[in-house]
Structures are given as structure tokens and as C-alpha cells.
């Protein structure tokens, strides 16, 4: 593991054992998150982004289970720990959750305790992970609420989540995630449930905090506009697999995988001729039990070569420096 890497996910498999059969929600995912970097994970609904995030904190609930692979977290002092090997309810993983890696969720409306005061939740988290007393925790909580842009922070300590708007709740969630100076923030579509204005404000805040605290962010989204705004690196996922990985500039300038290319085409542009129809990816994400053989994207792909694509799933290969793609189009091409 490289020294500037904070998290390294290798061949992660998280499967759900349902009554109908096994759903391979995460099916051999590889990627890593460097220090002080925002990595955006992109893909349509149901491609395993959230389950990957939950796997990183070992939060996957039955019938889901991490079947194999490793998630290596590198502590500040260089110590490495494989999160997959930790007991999901044990002391070791709990010391990482909230302290080293924290997480914010898609639904700010239901992510805060409904009958718990905002301040109590902040103070509780700080007392759990930091070596400070209660007065200090209260002081830091107020400063933090102020930092994430909550007006009259001191009086908000006694508020309940139902007294706040969606945007304010997401700000409180961000404050909670920052409360113990965690080094990696996982943001699982944090702006999807908010209106566009609030969405922009929250994105600005996250971008600002990422720079200020020089933390790493794993930002899950399906919105490529958001990726362009805050991302440094991009991981494109499809049906539980990484299909392409590169820096933001590379992805937008030179999308290689047909799926990434199709995603790019479906972004509306300013010089867009209003008589033209906005292109969309044909078909739907296949049902987990109706996975096409070979390449999972083959049934929706414009370049599909049946004799190659339907027989085997191509490996993820580095076809340009730092640009990885999983597609037969680039197989053994070396430099593109």
C-alpha cells in the first residue's frame, strides 16, 4: 500500500442472501483513496455504491455480508488494519467509526435521532472518541455548528431534528461527522434529497471543509455535475463492479468505458439545441438475477461484440497512467 493512500479496497465482495437467491451487490470492487483527496463514486441506482460505503465501516446488515476481499485502512502513524477482519460490533471497529472514518447519509430527514437533542448527539460522539470533558465538548460542539453555517449555534444545541429544515439537518450531520476530526468522510449522496439551492450550499461547504481540514472524502453521487465541481478522482461503478477509474480531468476529457461515455452524453449542455433529444442510456440496469453473461454492460452497450463481450468479463486494466478501464475495446492496447 502506497504511503499516501488512506484506504485501499481490494476485490471486495458484499453479497445479500435473500430468499430469492444471492444478490451480488458488490462484486469484486477495487479502488483506493489517497490522502486529502475527494474520490467520487458514480453510477446509476442499484450499482452497489452505498453498499460499498457501508462495507467500509462494516455496517452491512443481514441478509447482507462481506464475503471476501480486504479494506485496508492506514492510520496516521502508518499502522494498517483490515476492516473486513474486524468484528462488526466489536471495540476495534467502533474505535474507527466516527473517529477515523465518518459518514453522512442521503436522507437528512431521518439520519438524526428523532427524540434526541442536536447538542446531546454531538457531545456524545466527542466524549466517546476524544479525551475531553463535557464542558469542552459543549464548547467545541457550538464552535462546530457555527463552522458548518448554523445560525445561533449555541441556542441550536437544545433543538431537536424536527425543528430544523433539511439543509440544516444535513449541516448538523456534517458537524457530527467532523466532530472527532476524522481523516476520511464518506458522503453517501448527501445532497440528493435537498433542493438545488441548498444542494449548492452544502457542496460548497463540503468542498471548503475538505480543503480546510485536508481530509479525504469518498463522495457517492449519480450527478456528474457534482463530480466536476468537487471531485479529484472518479470511480465509475456498474452492477457491483468498478468499470473505470481515473482523475476528474481524464474522465471528462477522455471517457473510455462505453458506460462512462454514455453517462457523459446524458448531461445537458448549455449550447444544447433544444430541438434535439437529450441522449439517454438505452435499457435499464438489469435485475440482479438477470445479469448478462460476460460483461455486465453488454446488453446496453453500443459497441458490444457478442463473440467477445458475452463470453468473459474483461479485467480492470491500466490503459493510460492512472486510468483504469474494464472493457475489451482496450484489451492489451497498452497506451490509447
Amino acid at each position: 500500500m502506497e504511503t499516501n493512500t488512506i484506504l485501499d479496497v481490494r476485490d471486495l465482495n458484499t453479497w445479500f442472501y435473500t430468499d430469492e437467491g444471492i444478490v451480488k451487490a458488490v462484486n469484486g470492487v477495487d479502488f483506493s483513496i489517497p490522502e486529502s483527496t475527494t474520490v467520487c463514486v458514480v453510477g446509476e441506482s442499484g450499482c452497489g455504491k452505498s453498499i460499498t460505503a457501508q462495507s467500509i465501516l462494516n455496517l452491512v446488515e443481514p441478509p447482507g455480508k462481506i464475503v471476501s476481499g480486504s479494506i485496508t485502512y492506514r492510520h496516521n502513524d502508518g499502522r494498517e488494519v483490515d476492516i473486513v477482519q474486524l468484528k462488526p460490533k466489536g471495540r476495534d471497529i467502533r474505535a474507527i467509526r466516527g473517529k477515523e472514518i465518518s459518514m453522512i447519509f442521503q436522507e437528512p430527514m431521518s439520519s438524526l435521532g428523532p427524540v434526541n437533542k442536536i447538542g446531546d448527539q454531538l457531545v456524545q460522539t466527542m466524549l466517546l472518541h476524544l479525551d475531553i470533558d463535557k464542558d469542552e465538548a459543549v464548547k467545541q460542539s457550538i464552535a462546530l455548528l457555527d463552522r458548518v453555517g448554523i445560525p445561533k449555534a449555541a441556542s441550536r444545541m437544545d433543538s431537536y431534528s424536527f425543528e430544523l429544515s433539511g439543509g440544516m439537518r444535513q449541516r448538523v450531520m456534517i458537524a457530527l461527522a467532523l466532530s472527532c476530526n476524522s481523516r476520511l468522510l464518506i458522503a453517501d449522496e448527501p445532497t440528493t434529497a435537498l433542493d438545488v439551492t441548498t444542494q449548492a450550499n452544502i457542496l460548497d461547504l463540503l468542498k471548503e471543509l475538505q480543503t480546510d481540514y485536508s481530509m479525504s472524502v469518498m463522495f457517492i453521487t449519480h450527478d456528474l455535475g457534482v463530480v466536476a465541481e468537487i471531485g479529484h478522482e472518479v470511480v465509475v461503478m456498474y452492477l457491483g463492479q468498478v468499470v473505470e477509474r481515473a482523475s476528474v480531468e481524464e474522465i471528462f476529457e477522455r471517457p473510455l468505458h462505453p458506460y462512462t461515455e454514455a453517462l457523459m452524453k446524458s448531461i445537458p449542455k448549455l449550447d444544447f439545441d433544444s430541438h434535439e433529444k437529450l441522449s439517454s442510456i438505452r435499457g435499464m440496469v438489469p435485475h440482479p438475477f438477470a445479469r448478462p453473461p460476460g460483461c455486465p454492460f453488454s446488453d446496453r452497450c453500443d459497441y458490444c461484440m457478442p463473440e467477445k463481450c458475452l463470453t468473459a468479463n474483461p479485467p480492470l486494466e491500466e490503459v493510460r497512467p492512472g486510468h483504469w478501464v474494464r472493457c475489451v475495446k482496450y484489451e492489451s492496447m497498452g497506451e490509447v
Partner: protein, 331 residues
Amino acid sequence: MGRYIIKRTLMMIPTLVVISIVSFVIIQLPPGDFLTSVVANLEDQGQTVDSATLAALQARYGLGRPVHVQYWRWVSGIILRGDFGRSFRYNRPVADLIWSRLGLTFVISFTTLIFTWVVALPIGVYTAVKQRSVGDYIATFIGFIGLAIPNFLLALVLMYIAFRYFNQSVGGLFSPDMIDAPWSFAKVVDLLNHLWIPVVVLGTAGTAGLIRIMRANLLDELKKTYVMAARARGLSEWTLLRQYPVRVALNPFISTIGWSLPTLVSGATVTAIVLSLPTTGPLLIEALKAQDMFLAAAFIMMLSALTVIGTLVSDILLAIVDPRIKYANRG
């Protein structure tokens, strides 16, 4: 909070006034009155009742007057002097008859409520957290049996067990030699020895019901994002359960106070008769049968007042536990 309590307490007053009117009207509804049944009884024994005696009795009980005058005499007696009238049948003040019985009834009700909570809360939480485990199925099975067995049957079975295996005097709340003894430590122990049967009998169905409610509520809460969010902050499972989803799922426990006070007083009548408990249920039945109107009215009044008070207590507790309720009531 203070305003909320005052508001809710003031709202009780009109409710209680209406209840007193309805109670009085209900006991006036059956044809005839207590004197009718007294005369019938005396004539059965071959005695004749002359009209002068009848008139004297009527005047004494105030039975000949218009209903609203009778109501006013009754209700002003209660409010001004704490006088619930006289029981015709026992020829004693109603107050003397009901207080001792209400006291014991309250002891049984309260103990049963605590029993229900203490048993239902941990089992309910366990069955939700360990859903579909062997323990969950066992608790569910026993719970359904508890719901399905009629109380009087359970009472008979427990009485048999207490008599056969614990060599206990069965029925009532005290051993025969203790009934008229003054209160002492020995008498309290004796009471506790007898109390478990009615408490178990009366508590079983409620416990089983509450376990189901707690399980269903908690299962709903456990699926919500805030539980995973709290776990993602590194809280231990126990702290997390206690401070987040269980607090939300607790509401039905507190609501039980409202409806359990009156059902324990009235609904336990059959059980009380089977176990010959000196509680209010059997006395109420007798009073209704004999048209002992002031006694019956006092009981009906008490049951209704307990319902209102129970609801008030549970509403206040709910507002303390669940801040969302206070919020909705503001303004």
C-alpha cells in the same frame, strides 16, 4: 411544559362534569329504583309495606324528587363534603365501602402494570433485535398462548398450583387469619404471597400484547437511517439501542397507563370473582344488580375519573419522553 400540564389539567374539568351527569343518568335508566326491589323482597317474605312507611323511605332517600334536583344533591355532596351518599343495601356511607376496595384495587393495578412493563420491555426489545432467532420464536409462542388463554381459566390453574404445590390458602388477597388483622409487616408479606396470582393472571394478556407492540415498533425503528448513522459514529449496540430506537418505540408503554387503569378496575371483574378478591369489580356488579344507586354511581364515577386521570398522566409522560408531542401541541 408547565403551560402544557396546566392546560391539560384544566381540560379535565369539563370532561369530569359530563362524566358525572352521564353516570347519574345511567343509573337512573333501569325501571324502578332501590325501594321497588326492597318492597318486592319484603312482599316475598309475606310482609306488607304500608304507604306511610314507603313515603317515609322515599323522603329519606330523596327518591321522589325530579332528576336534576337529585343530581345536584348528589354531586354537591361529593364536591363540598366528599359525601358520596349512602348505600341502601349496606346502610353505610358509600365512601366507607369504596375506599378500602379502591385502595386494594389500586395496589393490584399498579403492581400488574409494573409487572407488565418489567416483563414486556426486555422481551420486546430482545425479540426485535434478535428477530427470527430461536429466542424470538419461543417468546412469540408463549406470548400468543398468554393472549389466547382466558383470564378466569388461568386464574383457576394458578390457584390449583398455589394450593397443590405451595400449600397456600387460595382466593382473596390475605390468609383467613390476616383479613381483619391490623397492618403489620407480616400482613404485607401475606399480601405479597397472595398478590402474585392476580398480578400474573391480569398481567399476562397485557404483557403478551405489549411484547408484540414493542417488537413491531422497534423493528420499524431499527430500519431507519438514524440507527445506522448512530452506529457509524461508533456507539456501542447497547448505548445505541437504549438512547435512540428504544426511546422512540417506548410510546405505547406510556400510553398503556391511560387505558390500563380503568380496565384493571372493571375488566378484572370476572377474575376478581373467581379469585374472590376484595376489589371494586365484584362490589360494582352487586350494586348494579340491587339497584344500589349511589354505590353504583360512585363506582362508575371513579372508573371514569381514573380513565381521565390515567390519560392525563400518560399524556404528560409522553410529552416528557417524546419532544415531538409537546411541539405539536404548541400554540
